[in-house]
C-alpha cells in the first residue's frame, strides 16, 4: 500500500537557503511515522 501527499508550500527560491520548503529525506530512504519529511 502507498500514501501520496500532494501539497502546496512556499517555494524555496534560493537553493540552500532557509526560506521555503526543504526536503529532509531522500528517495529510497526508509522513514518512520512522525519523522520529518521536510521543513517549511
Amino acid at each position: 500500500s502507498t500514501i501520496v501527499l500532494v501539497f502546496e508550500a512556499p517555494l524555496n527560491e534560493i537553493p540552500g537557503s532557509q526560506g521555503g520548503f526543504r526536503w529532509a529525506v531522500e528517495k529510497g530512504q526508509k522513514v518512520k511515522m512522525g519523522q520529518a519529511l521536510g521543513y517549511v
Binding site: V6, L11, W23, A36
Partner: protein, 434 residues
C-alpha cells in the same frame, strides 16, 4: 466392439501436471480472446454511449499496457481476489498457533515485535487483526520542529519532488497528471465560496493557523459541540442525505450503537458530472507557493496505520473505486500511472500554506482503506463497486463521461474551518488486509 472392449487390458498412465495446467491455461486464454472479440463486436453494433437506442455502459474496464505480467494481472479479478484474501485472513488462528505464527510472520517481514502495543500475541485472533496492530505509545516520537512535515506512516520514500506543469513523476520517468490522481471536479457550493484568495479568509496563513489552534479547543469540545447544539446525526440518514430523520434531541452517546465519535461526513455524492470547478481551485493564487509531492510505500511488515503529517483541515474526500493492482516497486516501475488506476481515497483540504491532499492508495493484498472519521467510506467492497457501476451507467445515460469517484464533504466543526480538523501526528486510519 463389445468383445474388443471386454478383452482389452486397461492400463492407466499419469498425466504430467504441467501438461494439465498448460491445457487449462490455453482454454482460459481462448475463452478470454473469444469474449473480448464478442465484446468489441457488440460495442461496434451498439454504437457510442449517449446515442439514441444505445444501452448504457458499465464502468470501462481498465486495460493497462505493460509487460506480460501486467497483461495477465489485468485479466484477473483482482478485487475479488483481494476480498477473498481478506476473508481468508479473518479466519481465527488456533490459540496455540498464534504466537509461533505471528513470530514467523514477523521474522519474514521484519516486524519489530518489541514495538507492538499488545505484549501477548495471543490477543490477536487472526492475521488481519495482527496486521492492523497498534504500537506502544512513544515508539514513534513526532519531530519536535513545528514546521516539520511529518512522515504519515512507516515506509520507504519512493518518490518526492516538486510538481512542474501538473505532472507527477511516479518512478523513473513514468509520469501521470495530478488531475488523474486527484480527480478533476469540485462540488462548487461548498468550496468556491472559500475559493483560493477570493475571500482571503481561509488562505491567510496566520489566521488559518490560529483557527487551527482554536480548533484544538473545538476538537476537544467536539462532543460538547454535538450536545450543546443538540444536533447529532444517525448514520443511515446521513448517508441517504435525508436530514429530516436525524434525531435532534439526543446527545452523542445515544447515537445508535456507534461508540466512536460521529462521522464527519456531511454529504455524499456519486453523480458528479465533468465540467464543474477543478480541485486546484483550492490553490492560493499568489505565486510564492509551489506544489510538492511525496510517495511513501508501506512494506508488508510495516506499521499500517497512517497519521496526519501536519495540522490541517480536510474538506472533502473522493473515493475512486478503481482496481487493486499490486503497488510493489516493481509494478510501479512497469505499470504507467498505477496510482491513477488503483482504488484510493483522496482527502482534499488546506493547511497553513494553502492546499493539502492526502491519498492512501490500496493494493491487492491490502485492499481496504479505513479513515477513522469517515464511517461512510467503504473501500474494496461489492457495494461501492456496484454503486460506481451505477453512477457510470447514469452518467452514460446522460451522455456524460463518468467522473470516476464518489465524493463526500466533511462537516465543518466551525464556520472558520470548513471541514474536519486534524492535528499533526493524529491517527487518521489505516490499511487493512483484503
Amino acid at each position: 466392439l463389445g468383445s474388443a472392449l471386454k478383452n482389452t487390458k486397461v492400463q492407466w498412465y499419469p498425466i504430467p501436471v504441467g501438461l494439465g495446467i498448460g491445457f487449462l491455461g490455453l482454454v482460459q486464454f481462448y475463452k478470454t480472446q473469444a469474449r473480448e472479440k464478442e465484446r468489441i463486436e457488440r460495442e461496434a453494433e451498439e454504437g457510442q454511449p449517449g446515442e439514441p437506442g444505445a444501452r448504457p455502459k458499465k464502468r470501462p474496464r481498465i486495460r493497462p499496457d505493460g509487460p506480460w505480467q501486467v497483461r495477465v494481472m489485468s485479466t484477473l479479478p483482482l478485487k475479488a481476489l483481494s476480498r477473498l484474501w481478506g476473508k481468508f485472513n479473518e479466519i481465527n488462528i488456533p490459540y496455540y498457533l498464534r504466537v509461533p505464527g505471528f513470530k514467523l510472520y514477523s521474522f519474514i517481514f521484519g516486524v519489530n515485535l518489541s514495538e507492538v502495543a499488545e505484549p501477548d500475541l495471543h490477543v490477536y485472533p487472526n492475521l488481519a487483526a495482527f496486521f492492523y496492530r497498534n504500537l506502544k505509545p512513544g515508539v514513534r516520537p513526532l519531530d519536535p520542529n513545528p514546521n516539520a512535515l511529518l512522515a504519515p506512516s512507516d515506509g520507504r520514500v519512493l518518490q518526492l519532488g516538486q510538481i512542474e506543469g501538473g505532472d507527477i513523476e511516479q518512478v523513473k520517468g513514468m509520469t501521470y497528471t495530478i488531475d488523474a490522481l486527484l480527480g478533476k471536479n469540485t462540488p462548487t457550493p461548498s468550496i468556491s465560496s472559500r475559493g483560493s484568495g477570493s475571500s482571503g479568509e481561509s488562505t491567510d496563513p496566520k489566521r488559518a493557523d490560529k483557527a487551527l489552534q482554536s480548533d484544538e479547543e473545538i476538537v476537544r469540545s467536539d462532543e460538547e459541540f454535538a450536545r450543546v447544539n443538540g444536533i447529532s446525526y444517525s448514520l443511515p440518514s446521513l448517508f441517504s442525505g435525508d436530514k429530516k430523520t436525524q434525531n435532534k434531541s439526543k446527545g452523542i452517546e445515544d447515537q445508535s450503537t456507534d461508540t466512536d465519535k460521529p462521522s464527519a461526513v456531511s454529504e455524499v455524492r456519486a453523480d458528479l458530472a465533468l465540467g464543474e470547478k477543478p480541485w486546484y481551485d483550492l490553490i492560493s493564487s499568489d505565486k510564492r507557493n509551489g506544489l510538492y509531492y511525496v510517495v511513501v510505500y508501506l512494506c508488508p511488515g510495516d506499521y499500517h496505520r497512517f497519521h496526519s503529517p501536519t495540522n490541517w483541515v480536510v474538506e472533502r474526500r473522493r473515493h475512486f473505486a478503481g482496481e487493486l493492482y499490486s503497488v510493489s516497486p516493481y509494478l510501479q516501475r512497469t505499470l504507467p500511472g498505477l496510482f491513477t488506476l488503483n482504488e484510493r481515497v483522496v482527502l482534499l483540504g488546506r493547511w497553513r500554506w494553502g492546499f493539502f491532499s492526502y491519498v492512501p492508495v490500496g493494493a491487492t493484498n491490502v485492499g481496504s482503506i479505513k479513515v477513522n472519521f469517515d464511517r461512510e467510506l467503504r473501500t474494496n467492497s461489492l457495494t461501492t463497486d456496484t454503486a460506481a457501476d451505477r453512477a457510470a451507467e447514469e452518467a452514460a445515460e446522460r451522455g456524460e463521461p463518468y467522473s470516476g469517484f464518489a465524493e463526500a464533504t466533511y462537516e465543518a466543526a466551525s464556520a472558520v474551518l470548513g471541514g474536519h480538523a486534524l492535528k499533526r501526528g493524529e491517527e487518521m486510519g489505516g490499511f487493512q488486509l483484503g
